[in-house]
């Protein structure tokens, strides 16, 4: 694989993470118990989908095979999606959603920060723009995690369990594969070891403030980066792709 091909696949993968997380959050639209939180969630979901569009459009351009951003989102089969398993995990209860957002956004923010300084100008611009959005998402989700953890006995126990349940999907974020290695070496991309160190430190601070405890280490699930997904991902994709696949070329 040439560095240029690797970068294209890498950008596509960034798009997959953003789209799948955005789609998960879209499932919560009109389902929140409070109007203010409802608005926040929908805003954030659209931020991620907007990021996915930028990544997909750039990946499609780089590929030069005549595909569009829509083709990337709607017409690729499950195994071609290379998003992390963490972002495809079901919303569960409010605490599950918040924990998923904190675990991912904390990583994503560091990743975008590093990418904003990479040697590919277009990717750096997209990352800088997305970084501002994600910094706020993280603030909001971390605020909630602190309140749930340091809230009632019930909310504390529930988010502690959410942390335990989602922990096994965190290892994959930092397990560098060929694409990560090439982008780091050839485009001055992120160093996942350094990002993991920052992530652990920042997460420990939030967890401490939330009076929670770090989950015990356990065996880590992986596969998302290779296109091997958890079962529930198929349902997410079916809902996402149903309309354009049923009515190809439909417009409104």
């Amino acid at each position: 694989m040439t560095p240029e091909q690797a970068l294209t696949a890498y950008v596509l993968r960034l798009g997959d993470n953003a789209l799948v997380l955005g789609q998960r959050m879209v499932e919560l639209v009109a389902a929140h118990p409070e109007l203010e939180e409802e608005l926040a969630n929908a805003n954030f979901a659209l931020d991620y989908i907007g990021q996915a569009r930028m990544f997909y459009a750039y990946a499609a351009e780089r590929e030069g095979a005549g595909r569009s951003e829509d083709d990337m989102a709607y017409l690729r089969p499950e195994h071609e999606f290379r998003n992390l398993l963490l972002v495809e995990q079901a919303n569960g209860h409010f605490g599950d959603t918040i924990v998923r957002q904190v675990l991912f956004d904390l990583y994503y923010q560091s990743l975008l920060q590093a990418l904003a300084n990479c040697s590919d100008a277009r990717l750096a611009e997209i990352a800088a723009r997305a970084g501002k959005e994600v910094r706020y998402h993280l603030r909001h989700a971390a605020n909630w995690l602190v309140r749930l953890g340091d809230g009632t006995d019930e909310s504390h126990a529930r988010v502690q369990q959410s942390l335990r349940d989602l922990w096994r999907y965190t290892g994959e974020m930092f397990a560098a594969d060929e694409l990560d290695a090439i982008v780091q070496a050839s485009f001055d991309g992120p160093n996942l070891d350094a990002i993991e160190t920052d992530w652990r430190r920042a997460l420990a601070d939030i967890i401490d403030e939330a009076t929670l405890t770090m989950p015990e280490e356990q065996s880590m699930a992986k596969g998302g980066k290779q296109g091997i997904h958890t079962e529930q991902f198929g349902y997410l994709l079916a809902e996402l792709q149903n309309l354009p696949r049923t009515y190809p070329g439909a417009t409104w």
């Binding site: 409070e34 203010e36 608005l39 926040a40 805003n43 706020y136 603030r139 605020n143 909630w144 309140r147």
Partner: protein, 95 residues
């Protein structure tokens, strides 16, 4: 589960530097910091502001509508309080 509602906060937004904060509306929130988040997400989605103040509605001291007569009506016939009795010299544009 508690059925208690979150307290109400009043939201004030400064639309750009140099202008004062103006009342934009209100949000419910569990505490002060979340009120700021909710105000941001509810009232500045379309670039409406550069600064936000929130204050708990029950902390505002408001005039009583029943006192309108004594509070505001006495000012209505004091036209000398308006600076309308000056001759404005030619050439003064902003007074």
């Amino acid at each position: 589960m508690s059925e208690q509602e979150w307290p109400l906060y009043e939201v004030f937004i400064r639309s750009r530097g140099g202008l004062s904060h103006r009342h934009a509306g209100s949000v419910h929130a569990p505490d002060d910091q979340m009120a700021l988040d909710h105000a941001r997400d509810t009232y500045t989605r379309r670039s409406e502001g550069v600064s936000i103040w929130v204050v708990r509605s029950d902390q505002l001291v408001a005039s009583d509508p029943a006192e309108t007569a004594s509070f505001f009506e006495p000012a209505e016939d004091k036209i000398y309080r308006h600076p309308t009795f000056y001759d404005i010299p030619d050439g003064v544009e902003n007074l």
